[in-house]
């Protein structure tokens, strides 16, 4: 064994059998060495005790990861389904434990598994690209069929002659001096760095496209990935159809067809007219009560208030917005409290709701017959409220207004 002392890294003993190695371990352990290790092709049962290796802390790392996984699963499901995007599913509560248990379990296992593998690698100081032992030809058999014991020069008890004697006494095949690794570059291999850089850049490309799509506008039509789903061989509404005499795909009902809630004979109810004159009374059977008034108010606030305003002053949000834009084409909605409207027959008000007037569109297709009458009733109530004399109020109400 010829070497410069400076170059020495440690002493390596080689054994043929696991039992020889375990016996050697006990001697090295008892001699009080600390910076030493054994290298074997497979885990050897009982060697931890022979080497004095203490139990690893890995299980605690895994337990911590398991708890983080569980907490993530609880948080994820609670935030997504109970807070940020509430789902009503099968009449279950918005937040219930049992239906969320499978995902708790899965994420707990997932996080734990990552912690087990990566915790093991980190605790083992892997990846470890090079080691002084790599340059020994004989050490190549460590992953095949040979067993090695290595004592580092850095150990406080290391003494070349003394340590050599100790190892010789353990019946090794050979004992070799291992030199410091001065050959292996401490830089990562260039091709490896280059490959990693190229992959890292390429991995950003999809995100760049997504960012571009999110940040810009396009007037191109959307991509139809499956044409068969978007353009089906069928006739759609408003399309021509040569199969019918009138050339239209949509079919009109047979003449004389009456839908279930239609009353074609009751002109008073459906048109608000009798003998061509607008009626001044509500239809027969129309109940004026709290429920009808509430229904009328609800429909009014859905369909009328956007333009006419909640109080009927013609100042709904649509009107306000149009006035702000001041484009000059806007016909303001009528204020509903005006005298001529208060005098107007209920039949005519019903007709306006049904068929529209001037700029106002027809609502007959959206509001059912009974609901249109309820809206007229509520309108009358609004008008009465606007023109109510002070004498109609109670003392308490007058006091509240002051």
């Amino acid at each position: 064994m010829s070497h410069h002392d400076d170059d020495l890294h440690g002493l390596l003993a080689e054994y043929e059998t696991p039992s020889a190695l375990v016996a050697a371990c006990k001697k090295v352990r008892d001699a009080g060495y600390a910076k030493w290790d054994t290298f074997t092709p497979f885990p050897i049962h009982g060697i931890e005790k022979a080497m004095g290796i203490r139990m690893t802390g890995l299980p605690w790392i895994v337990l911590a990861a398991a708890l983080v996984g569980l907490a993530s699963a609880v948080g994820l499901q609670w935030w997504t389904n109970a807070v940020d995007y509430k789902f009503i599913s099968s009449g279950k509560p918005m937040w219930s434990i049992p239906a969320n248990v499978p995902v708790y379990f899965e994420l707990t296992v997932l996080f734990s598994a990552f912690a087990a593998l990566f915790g093991m690698l980190i605790l083992n100081n892997l990846p470890q690209p090079s080691h002084p032992l790599d340059h020994l030809q004989a050490f190549g058999r460590v992953t095949d069929d040979r067993f090695f014991l290595y004592i580092e020069k850095g150990d406080a008890k290391f003494d070349l002659a003394e340590t050599q004697r100790l190892l010789d006494g353990t019946h090794p095949v050979t004992v070799d001096a291992v030199n410091e690794d001065r050959r292996t570059s401490d830089q990562l291999p260039k091709p490896l760095v280059l490959t990693a850089a190229v992959i890292a850049v390429l991995a950003l490309v999809p995100f760049a496209f997504i960012a571009k799509a999110r940040a810009t506008k396009t007037d191109k039509p959307k991509i139809h990935a499956m044409g068969d789903m978007d353009w089906q061989i069928k006739f759609q509404a408003q399309q021509p159809n040569p199969l019918f005499q009138d050339g239209m795909a949509m079919r009109a009902p047979e003449p004389g067809t009456v839908a279930l809630d239609e009353h074609p004979d009751d002109e008073h109810l459906t048109a608000g007219k009798v003998d061509g004159q607008f009626v001044r009374t509500f239809p027969a059977g129309f109940k004026v009560d709290e429920a009808t008034m509430a229904r009328g108010k609800e429909r009014y606030q859905i369909f009328c208030a956007p333009c006419h305003g909640v109080s009927g002053n013609g100042d709904g949000p649509v009107a306000q917005r149009a006035m702000t834009l001041a484009e000059g084409t806007w016909v303001p909605p009528t204020a509903l409290g005006q005298d001529y409207l208060r005098q107007m027959a209920v039949g005519q008000l019903y007709d306006v709701v049904t068929n529209g007037v001037r700029n106002m569109p027809a609502y007959g297709s959206q509001i059912a017959v009974d609901d249109r009458w309820a809206v007229v009733l509520y309108l009358r109530a609004l008008q009465k409220a606007k023109a109510a004399p002070v004498g109609d109020l109670t003392d308490a109400e007058r006091a509240a207004l002051k």
């Binding site: 043929e16 059998t17 696991p18 039992s19 375990v22 016996a23 290790d37 054994t38 290298f39 074997t40 092709p41 497979f42 885990p43 050897i44 049962h45 009982g46 060697i47 022979a50 080497m51 690893t56 890995l58 299980p59 994820l76 499901q77 997504t80 389904n81 940020d84 995007y85 789902f87 599913s89 099968s90 219930s96 239906a99 969320n100 995902v103 899965e106 994420l107 296992v109 997932l110 734990s112 598994a113 087990a116 593998l117 093991m120 083992n124 892997l126 990846p127 470890q128 050490f139 058999r141 460590v142 992953t143 095949d144 069929d145 490896l192 999110r214 990935a225 499956m226 044409g227 789903m229």
Partner: protein
Amino acid sequence: MAMAQSPFDAPPQGENAFARITHNVARVAEVPKPPRGWYIAFGIALTLLSIFGVSIGWLMWTGIGIFGNMNPVFWAMPIVNFVFWVGIGHAGTLISAILYLLRQNWRTAINRFAEAMTIFAVICAGIFPGLHVGRPWLPYWMFPLPNQMSMWPQFRSPLEWDVFAVGTYFTVSTLFWYMGMIPDFGTFRDRSTTRLRKAIFGLLAMGWRGSSRQWHRYERAYLILAALATPLVLSVHSVVSFDFATAQLPGWHATIFPPYFVAGAIFGGFAMVVTLAVPARQFFGLKRIITVGHLELMAKIILATGMMVGYAYSMEFFIAWYGGNDYEMFTFFNRALGPYAWSYWAMIFCNVVSPQVFWSKKMRTNPWVILGVGVLVNIGMWFERFVIVITSLSRDFLPSSWGYYKPTFWDFSLLAGSFGLFFTLFLLFCRYLPMVAMAEVKAFHPSAHGHGDEHH
């Protein structure tokens, strides 16, 4: 049969038992040319894989109208294939994790490629729900990703549980598989004769040198992963069975489903393991490592789990009668005697009758009989999922909506194609990666006991 001049027929080399194990396993990946049987199998697998590619392409191009799915059978072969492939995977985890915890040391001969089988089967499984959703470029909607629609997945749906269960299963199986291979990658690295092999396996081994301090943490991590994978594998097929069991359809709405699905998955998975192991040991000369004794143990597991699924089949009928629900009773009569009776009896023959040959020791020690039963059981387990999905859906509560589902050409081409993907991946694995866990096999060799000879 491998040819006489094949290197795989040569006697094992090496001066001791450990070296012989290394040589036997490593040479499979190191010889310049694999045996001719590998090329034939790979050619068939690639052909099927291209059929898979064409089928998926045509599906993307034209839409899921190419499937035979119809009213009322909206879930059809894609779901049958999904459950079939997920089930196949389960034996791999059972062998690598559960048998590890039970200290069944014979598992070391087969666990590596059973784990590979798991991963490839789960890849095949994962493709089908993606195709089945109709717009195969949107399955990422199943993941909880923030998006411009401000929507989140519905976590109270078993289909969403599936995403997490199968996703976790695939990830954990891959981690487990990779970790198991790290020491063997080290062996490949140290035996490599070319710079390229040394670089690739050096990277994969991450500098593993077999330090005992590292082995200690490694074994602890392995034990933890096994302990995690064990409940995981039981949960995955339970969650898959929830897809059916939480629905109210007769024939699906059954509490027996989770254990019945898990037993069936292990049954089908072991059948796939023997289907792969018998030819692999033949082609690659691994008969001394994967012995007839190993095959016999697997045959016994197939026999046991086969009787468990047989019990589940009969218990379903019993409960249908005992529960006194007319719809339930009708569904089971319909299974055995209705328009799909052929599939029901094919399932019974393959899954319940065929494994019974393993009562005979002569049969369960004959690799070719085991292979035959393995193939039959694979067919039977596919039919089991077909029976569950199709018979229940095709005749539900309203006779006016009944129908008869007929798969189309594309349904079958996708099924055949998924086998192409599976076998392509598997054959590549056999050729390039350590097919047997060398370090584990060595650790359980009789001469591996560190303090053995001190006492004798």
